[in-house]
Symmetry: D3
């Protein structure tokens, strides 16, 4: 199972990598890929309703709690995680963060990237996260960016994962990943996010229905699936 391949996941908030890409992370980690998550914020203002109902909650404490949960979820999925602490609602990304993400692209050399859909009328941070991720992906190619790095880097495919209301976000999946074998791991990662317990069943239903669609498209059984949309054409050696 040894491979030198890697995957990179760039999300606005902790929940996003769990609900939307947890299966892909666990699956590839299990195949020996280095999986790295860049989590741009802790979701401390906009995705922590539960925390804010606690008496005496502060921003610092809220961030600490969410970071701890996200780290546990990443560990269960088998991934490294790095936080950019950029704030949320809205994300405020800096040049220093861009520079750091470019370094990560060059270091990790991912064969694929997972991030948000380009449009999301329910959320201002999601489109900003994928814009930022794509900017770093492209600049990492520039020979004149830190030329002393002598980078060996080829820009990877970017797969957009499923937003909460896909049709409203212009999301049209072209890949359904079979996550049946790692479903129990993904579900355990859910359980690290008690504040969003109302979403556990929702995303289990999403996984079951995407699985059934995957099976319908391939003619082969799939119990749980995750839907993705590619950004670039694939260069292929065979059609199917």
């Amino acid at each position: 199972m040894a491979t030198d391949k890697a995957g990179l996941v760039v999300t606005a908030h902790p929940g996003d990598f769990v609900w939307r890409a947890g299966g892909a992370i666990a699956l590839h980690a299990g195949l020996g890929y280095r999986m790295k998550i860049v989590c741009l914020s802790f979701g401390e203002r906009g995705e922590s309703q539960g925390a804010w109902r606690q008496e005496g909650m502060t921003l610092a404490e809220c961030k600490r709690q969410r970071q701890s949960e996200a780290e546990k979820a990443a560990e269960i999925l088998g991934a490294e995680i790095e936080f950019f602490d950029a704030g949320d609602y809205p994300l405020r990304l800096t040049d220093a963060m861009l520079d750091r993400l470019i370094d990560i692209y060059r270091d990790v050399k991912p064969s694929f990237v997972l991030s948000h859909s380009k449009s999301d009328p329910y959320n201002v941070d999601h489109p900003e996260a994928v814009r930022f991720s794509n900017e770093a992906r492209i600049i990492a190619q520039a020979a004149g960016h830190k030329p002393e790095d002598k980078p060996v880097y080829s820009a990877p495919q970017v797969f957009m994962f499923e937003p909460h209301q896909p049709e409203q976000c212009g999301f049209v999946p072209d890949r359904i990943l079979n996550i049946s074998s790692v479903w129990d791991i993904k579900r355990r990662a859910f359980e690290q996010l008690p504040a969003q317990k109302h979403l556990w069943d929702y995303y289990e239903r999403v996984a079951l229905n995407r699985g059934m669609q995957g099976g319908r498209n391939s003619g082969k059984p799939m119990t749980h699936g995750e839907a993705y949309q590619s950004t670039y054409p694939e260069a292929v050696e065979v059609m199917g």
Copy 2:
């Protein structure tokens, strides 16, 4: 190289399988796939300008000439070919032809189908050909269609090949197939179509530019490419 896989190509006119899918046909034939071309017409009225400049040309003679050329091209590419003789400009497809194509789907059991883009403002036969091909693909799944067949059939992915003016046809490729290894075969198939000699160089340039785009997207060299657009999401076991 033995495989029991197969591919099906459905085109309105002979030129289409040569210019647009000749690389894919030769490549998969070389890999041992059964490759079958269904050529719905001979292009006798609309794509035979050269023939009609010959003195005393008749429709029957024009069809005979184009059939002979198309057979030679298919042979070079390594494919079977079957003509439906449906007429061109416009195609006039019948229920009997639909029934025959359904039988072919069930018999060939293709793992992929290649056909036209859904829209083409320059050509009325191209969209009609892919509509017809998709109708057969779907009906072949119906348990109540010739139930005595007891068909074992799973509906395959359909890749649309590149039209003459892709942007005007809503064509957005998501696959670039590396046809470098079979380019010389595709080029030899071109030469069976002397009446459209003005297109030989055009489609060589298309292949070179698609190849360069393929290399740019993958980071690996590709000298000649063919562009395709998928119709359905792919069920996949790994992301990249």
Copy 3:
């Protein structure tokens, strides 16, 4: 609860009005609307896999079984049902059927129509059904069509219901109907379709997730929902 309003549902196959619009039918029937279903075929060839596994099955027997199931489902939902027996895979609609559907539009005077999405790459009957339904809707307005009718008819809004893989069909919902109060009725209608038992849970999950989306959009709780896309702008007297 008395009203003189009515709704019309036009579907290709029996399953469609149950999975996709069963909640709307039951809800409006309960509000006193006359609800009429026009079911264009029995789904006898393409949506009766179970039946065709029975020994000695014939087309006539298959149609009889499916009709019986569909009638029971319609009764549970509280709707009238009329079958056009147009065949399926593919639907073959005639001028006489068009004439009949125009008469139904003029007679029922629906305040809304429910039918399929305009595009569905998995099914050739669904787009044909909605095209046919819209053609009848428009011709019913023509003063010169059976002028002796002296029709009093105003063309209604058409809502497209949710296809099996919405993103692949260009389906973007703009209405989420709260069907919480009639969910148990819809679920009982499911149970009349034993041949498609694998879809019962699938569409229960769809209802639960659409319900959660509905609640998220309105801020008011909704346990079960059905998604629809309107065809025409609404003339309104107030914005919200």
Copy 4:
């Protein structure tokens, strides 16, 4: 002002060439173009509400009245008119009509064609008319169609004119034609259609607002305009 140029207009009903293209017809007729209108029906069933309110109206009489009005309107605009009498609501176009329209394309050799938008959810005849017009335009190019014609024909640009509710029809204009100099002629043509008097002011307002938009886009004054959308790219010798 002498020119050997020509324009062809293909409409489903008489009102269409008046409301939507009357300015273009009058303008080019005035410039010496041969302008030919092919009017596929008399609008006798669907666009003759006024006529059907007359006591004892028959289909034959209704067609006679509408034909007479349309001929007067065409005369005022300076155009030839030919009726195909294909019926309306719905149009029923035959192979013989297709053959006739191909002949007209080859005979008139239009430098441009004006017809309907490709989509119109309010009308089934409009999209069918433009589909038919484009089919004839393309087949007229086929060397093997009536090869004895030895046709000298180059397929012209097709401009779609403005439908009644442009945004619902996917209509995005890329030309605004200045019809200020012929507005009075277009308005006089309106007056030949007394049954649709409620549309006279509507389309005068459309002309005034399109004129104002035209002036805004060019920086030069335009009092009345007509909006069009091109189907094909233009080959040009200069940019502007």
Copy 5:
């Protein structure tokens, strides 16, 4: 007529709330809604051609004049108005303005918001205004934004109003609001904007034509209308 409902209007320039949403404002004000306009600039640089033709005009004087006109128009329509003085051509929105708009959302608790279309190739301020308005709408939901507010707030529907050239802006209306009863009020508000007198008749024609379209879609008469496009699906209890 007493209601505790409210509506919020966010526009780039003063003219926008008059031409595009004046009917909705007057109508809901008349129904007892609290109507609040946030006008981000005075249109002092880009929409004050008349003012700049006055001798000795200064930016401060121009802003003063436009503010006075806008206040009179708002008063006639029955709305509160608040200016953000963000500058125009281009708008330069700050974090403090964002914070203020979030407060307004939480305070007004609008049941609907009216703002610009997302795209407008003729104007850089319009898309920026709606982007900003939507950002505030979303952040107002964040439990961690000023948690001491203990906000009771549910994010409202956002209706985009009609831009000057709707088809060029991707604007597809799905609501036509009947403003017949308040047309005279809207027209009086026009007259507070003497510098843009050339637009009075233009927008009266828009209102008349939208009214006619509204009547055509509902079958009920409407003399004047305003067109809107919703951003989110509606949760509904009945279909129509």
Copy 6:
């Protein structure tokens, strides 16, 4: 050939005006237009792979080399060139640069502008360049922007030139400019960019294929073409 017309070209990097618009520049320069190129960066970081392979290369030296090449190419094409030195990968445009570009619009008074497509998933600088160019174009109209200028300026049409992978950028050409007469000049401009020699043949093939498409659309021969997409409708006095 004397004219007082002018054209403006706004590009992110030097290669862009050569590959994508070199024919239009040379053609109009030859017709006597003042042609002005605004080149926002030197492409020093992202489009200078060759330079960065040289021993001891520095950013300053790289910029100097690329500037020298770009000036030679502009001279061959017959155009003025002005560099904004905004940096590349990413472009960082300032208010002062915006102010300068507005001045250029008012001074040059172009009858057309050439710039990038609005979307390009391969490049972050291209969409930013056209956004910036359009912002300046619009603000140049504002009477209150430097009112002391008393500007006489009418906002011109903007043509987007062809990106490297047009279908991935939503590029749909509506103009194919005949550059046959200036092809040799464009090719000589290519040769000033030795670092991107691999693109010389690529863009020669693009020119040949666009030429063939141009000829196919007009029926008149064209050996070399350049494809463009307009941003605004054209006000026209005749249809074709």
